[in-house]
């Protein structure tokens, strides 16, 4: 096939195929891989975001719990204070009523024949000054009940000009502290 001393190219019957760097199959394969990577990454970011959300919620809840706990402590303090106030008030009210009753009992104890001039009441002692027609009247009507109430009871009589007796009755209760010591 030499013509004019030159090698002539024979033309091909088919058009030359365009050569691709990647074949179609490889391209589809790469697209699948890329798609999986992208989808899994999106999913991963989504889960990471949710995790962060939980973590920040935990911090938030913890601080809320702490502030609630301190409010509980304050409320407890207020409750304890009111309970104490109530207990003290009840004790005081009871003491007032006890005092009233003991005063009433003392005056009810005194018979009509005996007149009291002076009463000195302390926590653990009672001193009574008064006038009695006879020593026996005092001893039987007032001294006996006084002796049953107090631990020690002593009476001194002074004869008056009109034949009656002035008396000073000193009665004592041993305080609970001393009783415990004994």
């Amino acid at each position: 096939m030499k013509r004019d001393g030159k090698v002539s190219m024979r033309l091909s019957f088919i058009a030359p195929r365009k050569k691709h760097f990647f074949s179609m199959f490889t391209k589809i394969w790469l697209i699948f891989i890329a798609l999986v990577i992208v989808l899994l990454s999106i999913f991963n970011v989504f889960v990471l975001f949710k995790t962060l959300e939980y973590k920040s919620s935990v911090v938030n809840l913890e601080s809320q719990r702490k502030s609630l706990a301190s409010t509980i402590e304050e409320t407890d303090k207020k409750i304890r204070f009111i309970v104490r106030q109530k207990a003290i008030a009840e004790e005081i009210y009871a003491n007032n009523i006890i005092l009233k009753d003991s005063m009433k009992n003392l005056f009810d104890l005194v018979p009509d024949q005996i007149t009291l001039n002076k009463v000195l009441m302390k926590k653990y002692s009672l001193i009574i000054y008064g006038v009695t027609p006879t020593k026996d009247t005092f001893n039987s009507l007032l001294a006996a009940p006084l002796k049953s109430i107090f631990h020690t009871s002593k009476t001194v009589f002074y004869l008056t000009q009109d034949g009656w007796y002035n008396f000073v009755s000193t009665n004592k209760i041993i305080s609970p502290d001393k009783l415990e010591e004994q």
Binding site: F81, K100, N117, K122
Partner: protein, 176 residues
């Protein structure tokens, strides 16, 4: 035209498939699984903390209710402790039972941390001891917390009884 789709080599296809599966598996194992683990543990911590917070919240609610109930129940006692004691008001109150009331401050002392205790000596005159009983009973309804205390001194003088006794006043304001 690319004929690669028409003539797929089965060995090549298997290799490609294997590589694809390996990449997917790698991503799942080394990316998704640790993230999910972290997510699940965070969710666990969140649930625990939420339960704790809710229980503390309900406890606070109970405590607040208890406080409110106590305040309502002891309204008068709380008000009495808060009320500032004035000798003028007390003399006016005592005047309804006694004649010629006078008050002398004996001492001021601390009492159980928060409360301040005053001791006052009351000197008065009364016609019959029953007035004294009424006074003691009425003391429990007075605007302040007041306790009548020993020593009590009573002396009859013609038609009247001279009396003197101590009162202890508990004042919360005095400590502030």
């Amino acid at each position: 035209m690319d004929k690669s789709m028409e003539k797929i080599d089965s060995v090549k296809f298997l290799i490609y498939l294997l590589v694809f599966i390996l990449i997917t598996l790698f991503m799942v194992l080394f990316l998704i699984v640790p993230t999910i683990k972290d997510y699940r543990s965070s969710m666990g911590v969140y649930k625990t903390v939420l339960v704790q917070k809710l229980s503390v919240e309900s406890l606070l609610k109970e405590k607040k209710k208890e406080l409110l109930d106590l305040r309502t129940e002891n309204k008068r006692v709380i008000a009495s402790f808060m009320h500032t004691f004035t000798t003028k008001n007390f003399i006016a109150y005592a005047g309804t039972f006694f004649n010629a009331v006078s008050l002398v401050e004996v001492e001021k002392k601390g009492y159980k941390d928060e409360f301040r205790e005053y001791q006052l000596r009351v000197s008065s005159q009364l016609k019959s001891p029953t007035k004294f009983y009424d006074f003691l009973e009425g003391l429990n309804r007075y605007e302040n917390i007041v306790q009548a205390d020993f020593p009590i001194h009573m002396e009859s003088n013609s038609s009247i009884i001279k009396s003197s006794f101590t009162i202890k006043v508990y004042d919360l304001n005095a400590t502030r």
